[in-house]
């Protein structure tokens, strides 16, 4: 499915009125506590997906591991050798409190000290769009790991597009719940942007999934507009999994 025209977008908006109404209601509910509503059950879909992907006992590095939630799950379910990286002090403290090994460092400065191929899987979950140098993060993850798992909110989603198109305001959705001035999402991207980057960098997309309207499926071309979030499994050109 090719990218819909603006006219098609607006038609789609009208035919999906319940969702649009939901979006309006959600926006209205956003007060000072921006962002809080974005967390919750939705995080689990990619956690479950990732837990299904990684083989038992492998070495996993989670870049931007937060409080270590994903690594805890992977360690419990897959007995992985877990290591986290987190730039925020409070989150790193929480990860230590959760018993997850975490090194406070900022991937924007590269992963100095982490040797090539020292991990089987490197996860960049909901982090890519927040880093200062996303290309450094992606290249570093494929340097230190064999396989990269990248998830990000899709800025090409129809909900985002229509808000910018119709309201002329920076979009605020459950996936992008921040005002333009408070957002940590400084390098937003679309599914298509990511695919294009992989092609330009000779990075192989091994698998990809999209999450839309409460469920996930293998990525299809229409997901550049439909997906709220996407998960890509990537590797270096010569890598076989």
């Amino acid at each position: 499915m090719s990218q819909p025209s603006h006219r098609e977008m607006i038609e789609r908006l009208m035919t999906t009125r319940p969702h649009f109404a939901e979006a309006i209601a959600y926006l209205a509910s956003l007060d000072a506590g921006l962002g809080e509503a974005a967390d919750g059950p939705r995080r689990r879909w990619d956690h479950d997906l990732i837990a299904g992907l990684v083989p038992a006992g492998c070495r996993v590095l989670d870049i931007g591991c937060g409080d270590g939630e994903l690594l805890l799950k992977l360690r419990a379910e897959k007995q992985v050798r877990a290591q986290g990286i987190e730039r925020d002090t409070e989150l790193a403290l929480k990860a230590v409190e959760n018993g997850v090994p975490v090194v406070q460092m900022d991937v924007d400065h590269g992963l100095d000290g982490v040797p090539d191929d020292s991990f089987d899987y490197v996860v960049l979950e909901e982090t890519l769009q927040t880093v200062g140098r996303p290309q450094v993060a992606l290249r570093e993850m494929l340097r230190v790991g064999r396989v990269g798992i990248v998830s990000f909110p899709n800025f090409g989603n129809w909900w985002v597009r229509t808000q910018l198109l119709i309201e002329g305001r920076m979009p605020m959705t459950p996936r992008f719940p921040f005002t333009w001035h408070s957002t940590p999402n400084i390098h937003v991207l679309t599914v298509r942007d990511f695919e294009a980057w992989c092609e330009a960098e000779s990075v192989v997309i091994q698998q990809a999934w999209a999450y839309a309207e409460g469920e996930y499926h293998e990525l299809i071309p229409a997901d550049n507009v439909l997906a709220e979030e996407a998960v890509f499994v990537i590797g270096r050109a010569a890598t076989n999994v």
Binding site: T89, L93, E97, V102, V103, D112, G113, P115, S118
Partner: protein
């Protein structure tokens, strides 16, 4: 490195747990163990052996039947084995400065505290060459019967840890649940974890790097220079005289204190306030508050510390270089043998063991694929932060021990 009470710059004092508090280990009594004698002397890195060696140590809590709940705490430059509680023996041992003072890391060690003595068996021993009960320059040289003075052999962090391992053997502990220390104490944790990886499950390194910076070497040199140039030093042979090199030791301590604080913490605590009056006296007496503080610290320290011990301990600190002694110059190679888990913690305003230097160890361990936790804590307290940022360090230690246990 620093004295916990003396050095407390600006942080509001936490309530101290009295000996009858349920959170205090209560009254403590140091113990001594003969860990080297003529039949089994302690080999030293400098090439000689030493005997006899007595070690003073304290323990808190109960050892489990499997002896798997032991945690070894290492003290820093001016510290001692009295890490928690109240010394019941201060009078008989003549350690008057302990009369109203709780152990140096009491906030972290006790029932319900981060190093929970209702669960863990906590040990702390005084280092070789110090002056708090373990054999050192003040001890009699078995050849002459006189105090060693400068005939005491130069000791290293490696020697200290070798001796601590003998203490573990003496106590029947094969493997520690954890070892922890800050500053020079942290360097002993590094040494233990890399030289005896099979002896410890969790290593907690606070405000310490695998080697001291050039700047650190320079400060220590000036400190020793002050001592050795004191007219009362007389080549370290001042025992039994009524004049000891207090001025030199005091200057060394003042210099030390400056390195334990930060520009911000000194400004916050003293500013440019006058000790007396509200303007200059146009002379060279103590005028600023910061001068008065340093002078007080110098005096208090020379009453409780031995100048020769200061020389030996700073020398051990200077020599320590884990990459060279354990990895042929390559820290990653030294770290390759590491087992278990590591927690490394630096403090943003620490200029004695700066964060970048602490990260060298993190990188060394990561290079070997070791699981490692590292946090760089935002603090304005300089090097002393490892003793002052109790809330954060408490959280880290509790969480880390949960993962190790």
């Amino acid at each position: 490195m620093s004295d916990p009470v003396d050095a407390r710059p600006t942080k509001a004092k936490k309530p101290i747990d009295p000996p009858d508090s349920p959170r205090s280990v209560g009254w403590t009594r140091p113990r001594q163990a003969l860990l080297a004698d003529a039949a089994r002397p302690l080999p030293l890195d400098c090439g000689v052996t030493i005997a006899p060696v007595t070690v003073e140590y304290e323990t808190y809590g109960e050892i489990s039947p499997a002896k798997d709940n032991a945690i070894l705490i290492f003290h820093a430059l001016s510290g001692d084995a009295h890490v928690a509680g109240w010394d019941a023996t201060w009078e008989e041992s003549g350690r008057a400065w302990r009369a109203k003072r709780v152990g140096w890391w009491d906030e972290m060690i006790g029932p319900g505290k981060a190093f929970d003595t209702s669960r863990y068996f906590v040990i702390c021993a005084n280092v070789l060459g110090s002056c708090y009960g373990t054999t050192g320059p003040t001890s009699p040289n078995p050849v002459s019967g006189e105090p060693y003075g400068l005939s005491f052999p130069v000791v290293t962090v490696g020697d200290w840890v070798r001796l601590q391992v003998r203490l573990l053997d003496h106590l029947g502990i094969d493997k520690l649940l954890a070892a922890a220390g800050g500053s020079l104490g942290g360097q002993q944790v590094i040494e233990l974890g890399l030289a005896y990886p099979e002896r410890v499950a969790g290593c907690i390194v606070l405000a310490a790097s695998p080697r001291l910076s050039t700047q650190g070497l320079a400060f220590n040199y000036v400190a020793r220079h002050a001592i050795t140039n004191d007219p009362h030093f007389v080549a370290g042979d001042y025992y039994g005289t009524d004049a000891t090199p207090d001025r030199g030791l005091g200057i060394a301590r003042m210099l030390g204190h400056i390195t334990y604080l930060s520009e911000t913490s000194m400004a916050a605590k003293f500013g440019r306030r006058w000790q007396e009056g509200d303007g200059p006296g146009y002379g060279f007496d103590i005028e600023f508050e910061v001068e008065s503080y340093l002078n007080y610290q110098a005096q208090a320290f020379s009453e409780r510390f031995d100048a020769n011990s200061y020389l030996y301990i700073t020398k051990a600190m200077d020599y320590y270089d884990a990459a060279t002694s354990l990895g042929g110059g390559d820290l990653a190679a030294a770290c390759a043998v590491a087992q278990g888990q590591w927690l490394i913690c630096s403090f943003t305003s620490d200029w004695l063991y700066p964060p970048a230097a602490c990260r060298e160890l993190v990188h060394g361990l990561m290079a070997g694929g070791k699981p490692v936790s590292y946090v760089n804590i935002e603090s304005s307290y300089g090097h002393d932060a490892f003793l002052l940022e109790v809330e954060t360090v408490d959280r880290l230690v509790r969480g880390f021990l949960k993962g190790v246990a």
